[in-house]
């Protein structure tokens, strides 16, 4: 796969900051599903069903992109993490509200799924003619689902170190600080975690 040169995203972000709607739409299409996946990886399983309401991610993205003015673009990974952080906060806000009103998330039905996550009504399509968004990430849906399941079987420490490294992109020192460990211990923990993940991923 060809990694995208940062300029494209950067250019779109610049355009979107100026309020260019197509640029905003395109950012949503390219990053919406990624953000959703990333959040799913980080979330505990109870909160996940809420995320399946695509609207939350969409709302969060719009919120995030609305706050683009405060964002200084450094690189793509940064941009994506920033987006998913805002979306995740928004999600937590919503779930707190639900807790406050003493409703059980597990029984919450107002976030009923509207079709599958791949039915292409993600953005800009007021009336989709039953088509799908064939973005790269969508095509990997099955593999990502499997990866998510494998991650869930790991012990929490393993899961966390993998997310911090591969998604958050933190350095070993930063991870050590978060996990309250010595920097030297991080690589071994990460390798073990990845080996465990690989084995879980391969299991049928």
């Amino acid at each position: 796969m060809k990694p995208i040169d940062d300029q494209k995203t950067q250019h779109l972000v610049a355009l979107a900051k100026e309020g260019n709607q197509p640029a905003l739409n395109q950012l949503c299409s390219v990053y919406g599903e990624r953000v959703r996946r990333i959040i799913r990886f980080r979330l505990d399983t109870k909160l996940r069903p809420k995320l399946d309401s695509i609207d939350i991610v969409q709302d969060a993205l719009i919120l995030a992109l609305g706050g683009l003015k405060d964002f200084t673009y450094r690189n793509e990974g940064d941009f994506l993490r920033w987006l998913s952080r805002i979306a995740e906060n928004k999600l937590h806000d919503i779930s707190k509200k639900f807790h406050a009103s003493k409703r059980d998330i597990r029984k919450e039905i107002s976030f009923k799924r509207e079709g599958s996550s791949t039915d292409g009504r993600f953005y800009g399509a007021a009336e989709p003619i039953g088509t799908t968004t064939p973005s790269v990430i969508m095509r990997k849906k099955e593999a990502l689902d499997r990866l998510e399941k494998a991650l869930d079987t790991l012990k929490p420490e393993y899961k966390e170190v993998i997310v911090l490294k591969r998604i958050e992109g933190l350095t070993h020192a930063e991870i050590a600080e978060r996990l309250n460990k010595s920097t030297n211990a991080v690589p071994m923990l990460l390798f073990r975690a990845m080996a465990a993940l690989t084995i879980a991923y391969g299991k049928d």
């Binding site: 197509p22 739409n25 007021a126 009336e127 989709p128 003619i129 064939p134 990866l147 990845m194 391969g202």
Partner: protein, 606 residues
């Protein structure tokens, strides 16, 4: 693999992750060679690791093609392509982007579809695309979205200008709430009719699914995305653009036929399979083979039977059998012609006592009977309290649409028109029913309007439509009664009679209709409706021709018409029909200021 082996594998893998993450150069085969106990396992796991790694990469980093896929056409929004203003993207799929656009010349909304990029460099596929578009354009079927135009441009892919169909898709409808059996059958019949019309022209859809079917606000079904850019494999050109390779499957393969799932050649029967899947889903709210993953789904399509237990009990046997024939895995054993499905569904729909209703009645009857016994009410009354699909007396007005002349011979028009009138005359005997006049109805002859539209314009509760065919001395007639709001087929029947018994036939039809709309047949009305009698065929023939010409209201028509009526009187001077024809002609002729000329002719001839 025992625990020891598992431990060795895990250790080896951990070591490998270290080497891999540190970016150290290493020969994978050499590394695996160090672990002869679990060589194969390790090799497999290393592949998994690389897959996982690239998954994480693709998650945090967009791919060039992501931008291409999503950007295509985005820049077109707000632009103009010829006389079309692109308003927004309304769909995106393997076949390209679909826009809502405004036709500035004709002031209407259209859907514009960019041609698949794959066609750009493939002149053969392009030709087929154009040819298929031409075929589709010639279809002109009320249940198929129309192609308005093709815009071809140099260097860029072209565009298709299609009918814009508002409304929800069938998949949205199914997800919203379960469908009633009648609604399901009515939708299924319209799909079958659309697909059958396409098959007749050699166009196969190949991607029939609820997402490609729209339900318009006025209750009509429209099948979208017909045949385009899905070249037929059986033609020997094996460029299946909707590839069966998993990475290229776009959306769900749940409606794929077994031959498609296997990557074998397909023909029109692939649509019949998908049609079966759609009916199944309408009946059960589940598609018959869908599973969590595409691979599983494909395996189920090939190996498993759908769960027939899920089908509701009240489904008529015929429909159940039809469904099973559509979902035959072997195309040779599958239903061969979708037109047969349309007919069978139509017959089930028109049968007034469909099992579902019978069951309902029984269930209600038992309930009522119990209630009646307990409360001690008059048992004779309960039947009329039974709910029925059409409540009593709801139909107070009715229009007989011009019966279709099945012979295809314009010289037989007089016959179909005459039959239409005969039925109207018969129905007019039902005093409590308002039957729309001939003149108001005849304007719809050959006109392509929907039943709800016609019913609205004529302000009627129901319409009768049908067809007639005369072969020598036999007459074949089919008629159906359709309630218009909500559109519901209440009754239909076919008759095959001697020409001489035609009036008896029409009185039977009128009685059947009267019963359907639950008009109480008083003895007097009964007598009038059963007054049907045998007639002299030659007299009747001349009479029909006469009325046909008279109804043209032209001087020449009048002359011809009168000649025929005269002949009719000669054939059977005792029959009142031709005299009545003369009388009514005279009346209207007077009204039309033709009075003097006609009166002279008339007086002469008398």
């Amino acid at each position: 693999m025992n625990d020891n082996q598992a431990n060795i594998l895990e250790e080896a893998l951990t070591r490998f992750v270290g080497i891999y993450f540190r970016g150290e150069q290493s020969d994978v085969d050499e590394f695996i060679g160090q672990y002869p106990q679990c060589k194969a396992q390790l090799k497999k796991r290393i592949q998994d690791l690389q897959e996982i790694d690239s998954l994480f990469d693709s998650l945090v980093q967009a791919d060039e093609s992501d931008f291409e896929d999503t950007a295509t056409g985005q820049e077109l929004v707000g632009q103009k392509v010829e006389n079309f203003e692109i308003i927004e993207i309304i769909g995106r799929g393997g076949m390209g982007v679909v826009y809502l656009a405004r036709d500035t010349r004709l002031k209407r909304s259209v859907a514009i579809k960019s041609m698949p990029a794959q066609l750009k460099n493939d002149s053969t596929a392009r030709m087929r695309f154009s040819r298929e578009a031409e075929l589709l354009a010639s279809l002109n079927h009320p249940n198929i979205a129309v192609i308005h135009d093709i815009i071809e441009q140099e260097d860029v892919t072209g565009y298709l200008v299609l009918e814009y169909v508002p409304g929800e898709t069938l998949i949205e409808r199914i997800k919203r709430e379960p469908l009633e059996l009648e609604e399901t059958l009515s939708i299924a019949r319209q799909i079958a009719e659309a697909v059958s019309a396409a098959h007749e022209k050699g166009v196969v859809h190949r991607d029939l699914k609820p997402g490609n079917i729209k339900l318009t606000p006025d209750g009509r079904v429209k099948v979208l995305d017909f045949g385009l850019a899905k070249p037929s494999v059986s033609e020997g050109m094996d460029i299946e653009i909707t590839s069966t390779e998993p990475s290229h499957i776009i959306g769900t393969p749940a409606y794929m036929s077994p031959e498609q799932a296997r990557g074998n050649p397909t023909d029109h029967r692939t649509d019949i399979w998908s049609f079966g899947c759609i009916i199944y889903q309408m009946l059960t709210s589940h598609s018959p083979f869908e599973s969590d993953t595409a691979t599983d789904t494909l395996a189920r399509i090939i190996e498993r039977q759908p769960d027939w237990e899920l089908l509701p009990n009240e489904i008529p046997k015929k429909i159940r059998a039809l469904l099973q024939r559509c979902l035959e895995k072997d195309p040779e054993r599958r239903l061969g012609n979708i037109a047969d499905a349309a007919i069978e569904i139509g017959e089930t729909l028109s049968r007034p006592a469909a099992p579902v209703r019978t069951l309902w009645r029984w269930a209600m009857a038992i309930g009522f009977t119990v209630a009646v016994i307990v409360v001690g009410l008059n048992i004779g009354r309960w039947r009329e309290q039974l709910p029925d699909v059409v409540s009593q007396g709801r139909i107070k007005s009715l229009a007989v649409l011009p019966l279709e002349n099945l012979s295809g011979d314009p010289n037989q028009e007089y016959f179909s028109d005459g039959m239409t009138e005969a039925l109207m005359t018969e129905l007019s005997k039902i005093g409590t029913l308002r039957v729309i006049s001939r003149q108001s109805v005849m304007q719809y002859k050959g006109m392509d309007k929907t039943l709800p539209e016609i019913a609205r314009e004529l302000d009627v509760d129901a319409v009768v439509e049908g067809s007639v065919l005369r072969v020598a001395e036999r007459v074949r007639i089919s008629a159906q009664l359709i309630c218009t709001v909500p559109e519901q087929h209440l009754w239909a029947d076919n008759y095959d009679r001697d020409f001489g018994d035609i009036l008896i036939l029409w009185s039977e039809v009128a009685q059947a209709i009267a019963r359907q709309i639950e008009i109480t047949l008083t003895p007097d009305l009964q007598a009038r409706l059963t007054a049907g009698r045998s007639i002299n065929p030659e007299m009747y023939e001349a009479y029909l021709k006469g009325m046909f010409h008279l109804n043209k209201f032209t001087p020449e028509g009048t002359k011809k018409g009168l000649t025929y009526l005269h002949q009719a009187i000669e054939k059977d001077p005792t029959d009142p029909l031709p005299y009545a024809g003369l009388e009514s002609t005279l009346k209207s002729a007077i009204g039309q200021m033709l009075q003097s000329a006609l009166y002279m002719t008339f007086a002469d001839q008398l």
